[in-house]
Amino acid sequence: MSQAVTAAHTSAIDALHTAYVAALDQGDMAAWAATFASNEASYFCISAENDRRGLPLALMYDDCRGRIDDRVSFVTKVWAGTYQPYRTRHFIQRLSCESAGNNQYRATSGFMIMMTPEGGATTILTSGEYRDLIDIQGEGDKVRAVFRERRAVYDADVLPRYIVFPF
């Protein structure tokens, strides 16, 4: 670790992870988007196979804030009523967190996503690793963390179903 993570920053980062999980597990896409920096942010969801082989193609490739907002519009407005609903539970495990200078941190964590289709049993959707660039905003009591970039690298070589929600 290049620089110690202060307790305030640690708890802000933990709160960010929690907010992310809570948003997705409640199917709240607006809350999901709110965990990203409002000006410049990106979200990528990519298979471990592509990632390992240096293939750039992703399952979700939101390389600007506009794309993140457009994903929210698609899930909530365009796709509504066309897919078989499923609920998710995300579990995450912090793996590393290092200062990237200037109120920024590089963090990795493991994740597992359980899914339950309506009327069905719970199974694993996939596991994977989040690789994040996190911004700390504000000071004192108002310290808050947001994703500047989140890269969800999922383990499944073959996903068990089509995908509606971000990982």
Binding site: L57, D70, F74, K77, L159, Y162
Partner: protein
């Protein structure tokens, strides 16, 4: 065995097909025994099957593994730059030779008794061969090649004995569209994959991929995305070709980032093309997305699709970047205008476990003649493929002797 199966198909007495050409019996979508018969007659029969593109293995020693039905394949580029397809099985006791999905090797070594195969399949070493059977000859034990042929880098295989030559099987009328789809010359560059399993019979997947249902996609309306003029054409052996001129969508103010659906390519008159090859391969070039969908019929209720995306070797860096973001977000199992199709594959499979028929309506002009001339958005383009399937499987039509 599906809990939904209505009849156990023994493979002996052919199922009877309705006299009306626009009806498909739903019982064929949920039948485990029928799937075994389809493996024999179609997947291991006199039909070509798309298993990859040479751009997936661009360098000497590159390989990928794939399955044709349940048969494991190993596709490798040799030192002579030739891409070969082998059964992925050691010629000694039959051990699966390569376990990785893809990679690069100098040779393939079977760990069981250390037989070593060159990239061209030759058996290069087999320790202890002095004690082998009296008739053992090393040169007879190279990897077994599957009959293969290529069209602009597209790799097809067949296990049938009487499969027609590839070009004949593809058909003259399909070639211009397929050529356009493969970038004109097949010099493609792999961008990556999206791989997914659908809880759907392979025929249900295939009957609803490629074919386009504009009413399904709210996105088209919201983005003011209208299909351009085009055509749909079928071949006798079950292929379907679509071509449409591209009318770029403005996004209608709906998208914050309309650059995603920009068209930066050079041939808008063929902006949207699809080649759908019997039995289950869909390939498309839509806007700047070049997408080959390598599909595997896993069982009567599971279909696996590897969506592979490509750029062209001559693309500018900027065009490649554009292709990456458009390809990632548009047409796959989570794509802006394709996630709904994926949902249909699974829902139609559930719906197909009921008695009766899948009914084709739009564009049907005759109940007795298989259509040969259909309009761009007609459902009837699928009927010649169904007719081909019926014949290959040997199902008689009601009233037929």
């Amino acid at each position: 065995m599906s809990a939904h199966s209505t009849h156990a198909y023994t493979g002996e007495a052919p199922k009877v097909w309705p006299a009306k050409v626009n009806q498909i019996p739903k019982e064929i979508f949920g039948d485990a025994a029928l799937f075994e018969e389809e493996l024999k007659k179609i997947f291991y029969g006199d039909t070509w099957h798309v298993v990859g593109h040479t751009a997936e293995v661009p360098n000497i020693g590159d390989f990928k593994t794939f399955d044709l039905g349940r048969v494991p394949l190993l596709i490798a580029r040799g030192k002579d730059n030739q891409v070969r397809v082998f059964f992925n099985s050691c010629t000694h006791r039959g051990n699966q030779l390569e376990t990785s999905v893809s990679g690069n090797r100098k040779e393939f070594e079977c760990p069981y008794h250390r037989w070593l195969f060159s990239l061209d399949g030759t058996l290069a070493a087999c320790p202890g061969s002095k004690e082998f059977a009296p008739d053992f000859k090393q040169e007879n034990f190279g990897l077994v090649e599957v009959k293969t042929d290529q069209y602009l880098g597209l790799i097809l295989v067949t296990m049938g004995k009487n499969t027609p030559p590839l070009k004949e099987w593809l058909g003259e009328s399909a070639l211009p569209t397929l050529t356009a789809l493969l970038g004109g010359d097949g010099r493609l560059k792999l961008l990556g994959y999206q791989k997914v399993r659908y809880a759907s019979n392979w025929k249900g997947y295939n009957d609803n991929d490629g074919y386009h249902a504009p009413l399904l996609h709210t996105g088209f309306r919201l983005l003011n995305w209208q299909g351009g003029k085009g055509f749909q054409r079928m071949t006798e052996n079950g292929h379907v070709i679509f071509e449409a001129e591209l009318k770029p969508a403005t996004g209608n103010g709906f998208l914050k980032d309309p650059s995603l659906i920009a068209f930066k390519g050079s041939n808008p008159e063929r902006g949207s093309v699809i080649t759908q090859l019997f039995p289950m391969t869909v390939m498309t070039k839509h806007m700047d997305v070049i997408n080959l969908r390598f599909a595997i019929a896993r069982s009567h209720e599971v279909t696996e699709v590897h969506y592979a995306y490509f750029a062209h070797e001559d693309d500018s860096e900027e065009l490649v970047q554009h292709r990456i973001r458009q390809s990632s977000n548009l047409l796959g199992p989570c794509g802006m205008v394709s996630m709904e199709d994926a949902a249909i594959f699974q829902r139609i499979h559930i719906g197909n476990q009921t008695p009766g028929f899948a009914e084709f309506q739009k564009g049907v002009t005759s109940l007795t003649e298989i259509p040969t001339d259909v309009k761009q958005n007609d459902e009837t383009g699928n009927l010649p493929r169904w007719e081909h399937y019926r014949k290959v499987m040997g199902f008689k039509r009601e009233g037929e002797q």
